[in-house]
């Protein structure tokens, strides 16, 4: 990234426990109360930086609404919706 420029809403690594289908059960130890939305983004496949993300909009038991995604590498990130 160009020095002096900061990416807004950059994804941040987050620890997620998921079930066998890949649906989050907990986020950073907080239990998922409900999955509000689930979507998939596949883009830039024609470049060397292809993107594949499986998104979940979750409601946690502590009342927070949270968007997380799993990347093609299997790692989880949190992103501001």
């Amino acid at each position: 990234m160009t020095p002096g420029i900061r990416q807004l809403y950059a994804p941040r690594r987050v620890s997620v426990e998921a079930d066998s289908e890949g649906v989050p059960l907990t986020v950073e130890g907080v239990v998922v109360a409900a999955v509000r939305e689930e979507w998939v983004v596949e883009d830039r496949w024609w470049t060397l930086r292809r993107l594949w993300r499986h998104y979940f909009e979750l409601v946690l038991t502590d009342g927070r609404d949270l968007v997380v995604f799993r990347s093609s590498s299997g790692r989880w990130f949190r992103q501001r919706a």
Binding site: E37, W39, V40, D43
Partner: protein, 1121 residues
């Protein structure tokens, strides 16, 4: 498995959604069958273009096809599915209305189709309506915009129109951000309305591997890049076809919506392959049999009065009429006769009653219908099938079964007559009862590279380099080689180019858009729009059905082909020009058909410009087959086709013909004696399409209908399975019933299957052979007029105008460049009587190039220039021309560049060049350009043209004259041809002296290694030639045939495909009057070799720019593959 599948797909787009679907109907049907779908709906955008193909394909895979479309209502989408025949009729009418105003703009470019709610409500019966897709659905769209109330109101209106039985709320799960919220709202709405939800997949490809292509096609459709089209793409690969179980899982929260797919599918029983309800036109006329018989009988008596063929003709007529009665086709023939009468009226209007053309028939038959005596008598064919012994079984037979299709009647017309006839047919039979057949241009490598390269945002210069290098028929593996040849291995290995290579391979063969067939027309006595949607064509006054010729054939439509044939136009132009210049009216049906001079030229392959036998392949064959009469020409025309070539007929025919010439007692070695009756006239080889039928009948006991089914299966790409079945049937018939040895039966079958590429029926060949002879005869006896006609009818034939002109010059025909005081708009022949004082005529005729040949000039302005000259006399000087003609400054400049103003500059023209042409060789063009720049010229405004004042230009300063090379460049830039020195003649002094001239090849021994150089006139890479490229080179004395084998082509792709001037080294091969160079090395003619002949001060940079700008260079090096 299909019966147990938990889900039926009711919303699918194929590539016939045009750039919004990445699989063919065949691929979708195959995948549906493989995944276990019991039924499957195709719902392309605003059309059923691919539905007939899909329906037939589905049946082959055990899937029940459902017919529907995603229709644009207002700005949004609804999914409509045909439940019954009435529903299908309504769908066709709605789709017709949706397209009816799409080309109302002045440029007639295609706009967005769509219907209003009122139209939808009026045509709701028999249709099931789903509420639309997740992105643009009519009901969900307002919800997404925050206007849910509007969506609810629309849903209630749809419910009122379709009722509870036939309206469903459509749920989709494309894995987009708001899927769950959207489906929650939709299911709630369904509950409030009291209608079920139904799940659909909105499929856009048959497999996940095509989802990238789908993305790219969206970008192509939007005319933008993949990057910029992100919001409008599918976003992920969930639009690929999934298994029924997978779809049930995807909608696990809505099991009832999944179950509803099965319930709906059970009701959607309309079958496009069986329930179309089409009947032959004229079938409603109970008196048609009697009327047709009476007409034919009367004409028979007239045509065969005092003929020794009368009895045979009478028996033949009786037999054909009987078949026509059995097939219920009398009304069809009467309708076509009526059509021909209409064509006569149109021809009279177009030609004028006093024209030399007026004695010619309005058109000519082609195709298998030429074999019919009914067609001959009623004027639908011009060849006597009794005299020429033509077999009519391919056109018409009495056996009717599920494979039986309606016969086709094909008619060729001169272009000007056809252009007027088509709208008149619409007028005569009604816009709702006649339409042209559609055609679907499919992606080929060059177009795919350009479209997809732009979507991938690859550098435009690289895209163009690659596009110019790739060939028409190349496979994806070859495309990669082309990319490497064009831009180098390093760039070709980049991610962008690798993706493009992959996508290009996948896109190949997918339809890109709808177009009109070259002339196929469907005419019906019931409204056509009840059986297939009819949409406006790009050309004004024309409309097309949404099916191509295969689908029309599957539908059983009776089709007539009204084709425009350039050579027919050229022949008619020639007849008119002969009348004008010599006062001689030619009746081409009464010329000497055994003229020795004409046959000598044909046997010597001096056939440039002659219909059908002018190609490189024909010219190679003519000296070996040596046609001696019209029957030989009939075989000749049929021989150089993919069918006979792939069926292995060519070499045996040539060899046996030669043996017979040398030894008239030579016995033809037939594969089996049962084949002799069918193949005797073609010396044991299968040359004609009907011979396939006859061989199947004679050797394997096929019925005529079975044999016709075999022919049709072979002529269509989607019938391999059917061909395999016929193969088994053939072997059983030949070996079992006729005791033909298995190896012989297999060999004959291989010949038949090889033939499946494409072949002519004999009747078609006879019609074309006749025109080939007539054009050869005109070329021999009326050379200038014939050349003039060819130049005026371009584009047509194998050679560009430049090559036609050079060839004519080599045989003594004289041409002259455009001249504002001599030329007309079109090319014409000047005679000594017309200009007795002109020294350059030398007592002969000269083909004067027309002003319309100058690129970029407006035809109207040239017509007014010529009219003013006729009215008030020749132009005296450029100021006089500018003030009197009303031609704009830009067009005067174009004329000046072309040398058309040279005669007004005061320079004395001199003779130069090898052919005695007129060329100034002075500062004429530069001076003319200077004067055009300083005199006032006409200005155009809304009211018309404001003429310039006739102010004389001051004397021009001393201007450096154009050099020969510059003049040649100016000729090519302005007219696409040069009549002066050939480029090779200008270059010769600077070329390697080892380069052999074309005419000197005759003096060199067979097998010698030679090197030749020249301008590329044509390149061909026929699919039937196993990768060999044929190049025709032209130098200042003639032409050379190059054969470039695949390894050499692979090494020199860029040079072979793109260089306008090349040198080639290889072995000279001389066989039976033909000379070729088998190439081992190709190079571009190098600049260093040219420098010596370039005038001092010439700028290479400038020449390069000119060459790049010169559009005719690419046209000059035409691709004919």
């Amino acid at each position: 498995m299909g019966a147990d599948a938990p889900y039926v797909e009711l919303h699918t787009h194929s590539a016939f959604s045009f750039l919004d679907g990445a699989s063919t109907p065949m691929e979708l049907a195959g995948a549906a069958g493989q995944l276990g779908y019991s039924a499957f709906a195709l719902t392309d955008h605003n059309g059923i273009w691919g539905s007939m193909e899909f329906a037939h394909a589905c049946k082959g895979f055990g899937v029940r096809p459902i017919t529907g479309a995603e229709v644009t209502v207002g700005e949004a989408h609804l999914t409509l599915l045909a439940e019954s025949a009435a529903g299908y009729r309504n769908l066709c009418r709605l789709l017709t209305e949706a397209h009816s105003h799409t080309r109302d703009n002045t440029a007639r470019t295609a706009g967005q189709p769509g219907v209003g709610m009122e139209q939808l409500e009026a045509h709701a019966a028999g249709l099931v309506c789903l509420s639309g897709c997740a992105g643009d659905g009519a009901v969900v769209g307002p919800w997404a915009r925050g206007e849910a109330t509007e969506g609810v109101a629309l849903a209630r209106r749809l419910l009122a129109a379709f009722g509870h039985d036939r309206f469903r709320i459509e749920l989709q799960r494309p894995y987009w951000r708001h899927d769950r919220a959207r489906n929650r709202w939709l299911s709630g709405l369904a509950e409030r309305l009291g209608v079920p939800c139904v799940a659909t997949g909105n499929v856009h490809s048959h497999d996940r591997c095509r989802t990238h292509l789908q993305d790219a096609l969206v970008a192509v459709r939007l005319g933008t890049t993949l990057e910029a089209s992100e919001p409008l793409r599918r976003g992920n690969s969930s639009s690929a076809l999934a298994t029924p179980q997978g779809m049930a899982t995807r909608f696990v929260e809505y099991p009832e919506a999944v179950a509803e797919t099965l319930r709906l599918a059970e009701r959607l029983r309309f079958d496009l392959t069986a329930d179309l309800g089409y009947s032959y036109p004229g079938a409603e006329n109970p008196d048609a049999d009697r009327q047709l018989a009476a007409i034919c009988q009367k004409l028979l008596e007239e045509r065969y009065a005092n003929s020794d063929r009368a009895a045979k003709a009478s028996a033949r007529l009786e037999d054909e009429l009987q078949t026509i009665r059995i097939r219920g086709l009398s009304g069809f023939f009467l309708l076509h006769r009526d059509l021909l009468e209409l064509a006569r009226e149109v021809a009279l209007e177009v030609r004028g009653p006093a024209s030399a053309r007026s004695i010619m028939p309005p058109g000519r038959g082609r195709g298998s219908s030429v074999s019919s005596i009914v067609c001959f008598l009623t004027g639908l064919s011009h060849i006597d099938p009794v005299e020429r012994d033509l077999f009519s079984g391919r056109f018409l037979n009495a056996e009717v079964n599920e494979d039986t299709v309606a016969p086709d009647i094909d008619l060729d017309f001169p272009r000007d007559i056809r252009e007027k006839l088509i709208p008149r047919v619409h007028d005569r039979y009604g816009a709702d009862r006649s339409a042209l057949v559609a055609a679907f241009p499919t992606y080929r490598p060059r177009g795919a590279v350009r479209d997809l390269g732009k979507a991938l945002a690859l550098p435009p210069a690289e895209i163009e380099r690659v596009a110019k290098t790739v060939g028409f028929h190349e496979s994806s593996g070859e495309i990669e080689r082309d990319v490497v040849a064009a831009i180098g291995a390093e760039r070709a290995a980049s991610r962008g180019w690798q993706v493009l290579i992959e996508l290009t391979g996948e896109a190949m063969g997918l339809p890109r858009h709808a177009s009109q067939h070259s002339g196929g027309m469907v005419i019906s006595t019931q409204p056509l729009i009840d059986v297939c949607p009819v949409v406006p064509a790009a050309m004004e006054g024309r409309q097309i059905v949404q099916w191509d010729k295969d689908s029309c054939s599957d539908a059983g439509f009776l089709k007539v082909d009204l084709l425009g044939l350039g050579m027919l136009s050229a022949v008619e132009r020639c007849v008119e020009e002969v009348d004008r210049t010599r006062g001689r009216r030619l009746d081409l049906s009464r010329i000497d058909f055994e003229d020795p001079q004409t046959f000598e030229s044909i046997q010597a392959a001096e056939t440039t410009g002659v219909f059908q036998i002018e190609s490189r392949a024909q010219m190679q064959m003519l000296p070996r087959t040596r046609p001696e009469d019209l029957d030989d020409l009939t075989v000749q025309v049929a021989l150089v086709r993919p069918g006979p070539i792939q069926g292995g007929a060519v070499h045996p025919y040539i060899e046996r013909r030669k043996r017979l010439r040398e030894d008239p007692t030579y016995e033809i070695p037939y594969e089996h004696q049962l084949l002799e009756p069918a193949l005797k006239e073609t010396l044991g080889a299968i040359v004609y399409q009907e011979q396939v039928l006859e061989v199947a009948v004679d050797l394997a006991d096929f019925t005529h209908a079975e044999a016709d089914g075999l022919r049709r299966a072979m002529s269509r790409k989607r019938s391999q399975e059917a061909i395999d079945e016929f193969h088994d049937r053939f072997l059983v018939g030949a070996v079992g019933a006729n005791e033909v040895p298995l190896d012989v039966a297999e060999r004959v079958w291989q010949q038949i299957q090889g033939f499946s590429g494409f072949g002519f029926p004999k009747a078609h060949s006879a019609a074309f052979g006749l025109l080939a002879y007539q054009s050869a005869w005109l070329r021999i006896h009326y050379g200038p007029e014939f050349l003039c006609a060819l130049l005026n009818e371009q584009p047509m034939g194998f050679y560009p105008p430049d090559a036609l002109a050079h060839e004519a010059q080599r045989r003594g025909v004289r041409l002259a460049p455009p001249d504002v005081n001599r030329s007309r708009v079109l090319c014409h022949v000047e005679t000594p009587q017309q200009a007795p004082a002109e020294p350059e005529l030398r007592g002969g005729r000269i083909v004067r190039i027309g002003l319309g040949y100058v690129k970029g000039v407006r035809e109207k302005e040239m017509a007014s220039l010529v009219a003013e000259r006729r009215r008030s006399g020749p132009y005296r000087e450029i100021a006089d021309l500018a003030s009197r003609s009303g031609v704009s400054g830009a067009d005067l400049e174009r004329l000046a560049w072309a040398g058309a103003l040279d005669g007004l500059t005061g320079d004395v023209p001199v003779e130069r060049g090898p052919y005695g042409h007129r060329s100034t060789g002075t500062s004429g063009r530069r001076e003319a350009l200077w004067e055009v720049g300083v005199v006032g010229t006409a200005r155009r405004n809304m009211q018309g043209a404001q003429m310039a004042l006739p102010l004389q230009a001051p004397d021009a300063p001393a201007l450096k004259p154009l050099g020969e090379w510059e003049e040649m460049i100016a000729d090519y830039r302005s007219t696409g041809m040069t009549l002066g020195e050939h480029p090779l003649a200008l270059m010769r002094a600077g070329l390697d002296p080892e380069l052999v001239r074309s005419t000197d090849l005759e003096k060199i021994d067979d097998g010698t290694i030679v090197e030749v150089g020249g301008m590329v006139v044509a390149r061909q890479r026929p699919e039937t030639a196993g990768g060999i490229v044929f190049v025709l080179l032209e130098d200042e004395r003639g032409t050379v045939n190059l054969i470039v084998p695949p390894p050499v082509y692979d090494r020199h792709r860029a040079e072979v495909r793109t260089s306008p001037l090349i040198r080639a080294k290889g072995r000279l091969e001389r066989r039976e009057g033909t000379t070729n160079v088998l190439v081992s090395e190709v190079r571009e003619l190098e600049r260093t070799q040219l420098r010596e002949v370039v005038p001092p001060g010439h700028s290479w940079g400038r020449r390069d720019r000119e060459s790049q700008k010169r559009p005719r260079r690419s046209a000059h090096s035409i691709d004919r593959d």
